[in-house]
Amino acid sequence: MTTSQGIIMILAGLASGPLLGGLIAGLDRILTARFQSRIGPPLLQPFYDVIKLFGKEKMVVNVWQAFCANAYMTAASISVVLFFLRSDLLLILFIQAVGAVFLVVGAFSSTSPYSQAGAHRELLQILCYEPLLIFVVVGIYLLTGSFKIESVYAWNQPVLLKLPFMFVVLSFVLTIKLRKSPFDLSTSHHAHQELVKGLLTDYSGSFLALTEIAHWYETVLVLGLCSLFWTTNPVGAILLVGLTYFLEIWIDNVSARLNWRWMLGYGWAMGVSLSLVNLVWLYAR
């Protein structure tokens, strides 16, 4: 990758979150509405929301919320940029985790029990999905011999064919990361849960907007990870990502929210066993 290519990629990565992520969020809302026999908001609705939030009065419970929202956003954007630069997958995960941790710390900095309980649940979610993500990345490594995304692109056939179970594990993570039912435990899109808006309860105005944009970045990142399973053909990648996302929305609409015990138990049991099966199978070949 030359320097100019690198710069283009950095810019593309930076732009992808607010643009692509926002569009995906808009599409998500329209599709959800369709599933519920509604018309739904306009496609650009997420952008209106965020712009409006930036125009709201600045209000904080604890000034460190500002820090944490910024740090979350920075970490999320860096992880996406690194993804566009085709860097090390494990490194991307770690940086993504930084954002997640800052989000949690930000929620902790408010004393509202809703926010705090949401933060704990988010930690449990991190606890559930981080290992699974690492398993997925290790699966890719065992297949291609490298943690670099470059090598995935250099691989001569779709990774999905060799790592089908890992893709299932990844979609599990996707459900958690996208805050979809049955895993919208720490916060949910419509705040219809026992913790109100969970760890975002006490964020407001522009800080809420920052976390929203960071969430878009994360969406782009996890969907990017999905796309790695079909790298030989861009159409295939888009189809795979589109289908996966559609399935996510479908699952969101046909399931109730479960509790975190179920998530941890089921997530780890399923994640570890599927990963083991897939990895041993890879190993054995």
Binding site: V63, L90, L91, E130, F135, F147, F207, L276
Partner: protein
Amino acid sequence: MKELTYVLIFLPFIASLTCFFKIPSQVRSFMILTTGCILIVSSLLLIPYVPFAFTPQILFGLGVHDLIRVPDFILMFAILYFGFKHRSLLVIVPAVLQIVLVVWFEIIISSGMIEGQQMFRSVTQAFYCDNLSLIMVLIISIIGSIICFQAIPYMKNHEEHLKLSTSKQPRFFFVMLFFLGVMNGLVLSNDMIVIHFFLAATTLCSFLLIGHDGNKEAIRNSVRALWMNNLGCLAFTVAMMMIYHNLGSTDVQQIIRTPPGTGLSFLALALLCFASFTKSAQFPMQSWLIGAMVAPTPVSALLHSSTMVKVGVYLVLRLAPAMHGSFLSQCIALFGAFTFLAAAGLAVGQSNGKKVLAYSTISNLGLIFACAGLNTPESITAAILLIIFHAITKALLFLCVGTIEQHIESRDIEDMRGLYSKMPLTALITVMGVVMMIMPPFGLLLGKWMAMEAAARNIFVIILAAIGSALTAMYWARWAGTLMSDPFAGKFKLEKQPVVTWAALLSLCAGAGILSIAVPWLYTGLFTPSMSLNYVPPYTLNDGVLENSYGIFAAFPLCLIAVMGFLQSILAVRGATKARICAPYLSGIQTAEHRVFMGPMNQLVKAEAGNYYLSNIFGEKKLTIWINLAAGVLLTLIVGGAL
């Protein structure tokens, strides 16, 4: 170079002896400060000479081995004495066995000397210092000294709090400084007999330090530490004898140079590993380190960061080349990864800050063992990185907890809720410490990254490590969040602390930060030479980016971005100070008083939010027995596999 070595080893002894006598506390403080400074300077001065090896001149007609023999026996008898004093059979039996074995060993050696002089002469160099030793020396001298500095105000406060009639500080500082000397000696020696002496010395020192407060609990825990570590010493003695039997030498360098599987018994190595595990408080011998929490906090800091527990990982790292590619090595990796996970799990279930730190130490040491066991160039690099950054960060966190403890008179995380409003700077430094434990671009995470990439080939290790790593993030983030959990009301006022405390905290904090930025240069300057003998350098370095065929870690650019992100976020905080401060969401029934809502029966209720410790999943009582069992099985696997 020789002089520096002598200074590093013997200066603490001399200084400690002076401390032991009743001298005015100002003089003592001055002494400690000067000794520490000299140690720091001389350890730094040692850098250009590395690697080196030498044997001191014969003193009064006696070699090093002969010189060490008498104190070695004194130490062993001292342990035996304490065993009798506290009526602990668990101490007495191994101690007696050890004395018998050592006597027997001496007879063998002496007889060997009579039969063929060259056999003993095979220990060519008594002192040997390569980069690994140097790194250890630097950690011990610098971090150890800083902890000793911080101990001066701490102990003063501590004793005032206990209202002691006669100060026990002379004894305390005697042992502390002595410990530093012993540690320096241990990492610089090349002869297993000498190492044995120093091992026994660390055992005794830690026993004395843990039991310092002299109350019932302290005594009980110190005796436990004594018997456990003494058991490790016994294992070491047996291993030493077996190695001597196999190779006819106790030269460490020679052991390393022996290719795996030729002549060297794996059982001996397994026993050495067992000795290391006891020193590093791995499962199922973790209880001594957890019990050590009763001691004053500087002791914990010393034991956890730079001294005692690092002995174990140092020894295994030293011996790693000798196990390269063996089943034993794989088992150690698995064992280490298991410890990493299990200790992290136990830490999640703890609300006692020091216990969280203790389990986190065990957990990190487990990861280091796992790296040593994986035994690839990447993993060894990772191990060394982890040792360095763990030492600094853990020392920092312990000192923070000690400072906090003396202010709020509690070490429970729940009581540290909203500490930011009471002790802003200490809280921020603690949060920084936590951030350094779990986040890129700091060195500890770099080490973890390397370790994971190295472990990726080993499915079981990576599964354990991945889950353990997530658990680690969980308990640290929870703690950091708890510290910050308070509304910000206007400008904060700096809390009052002694200058030494500030200096210690800030220097450790800054040190960790600067070293993290300097990791690429550290890597080329220190690690590569330290392993060049046995391993190929695993990474190439350009523009501060570490890279090899399967991974990239943009260390320097990340630091740059992190600094920029940090500054930007700080600016955001400054911007937010102008924002309206609003009450947290309490379903609309909040009152003017913060966190208080109007509850049933028109009573004011304080909304509390306790942390989740998930004690029915991660509870200490519930888990420990199973973990110990599993660890026992794994240990059997190690020893059995070695047979």
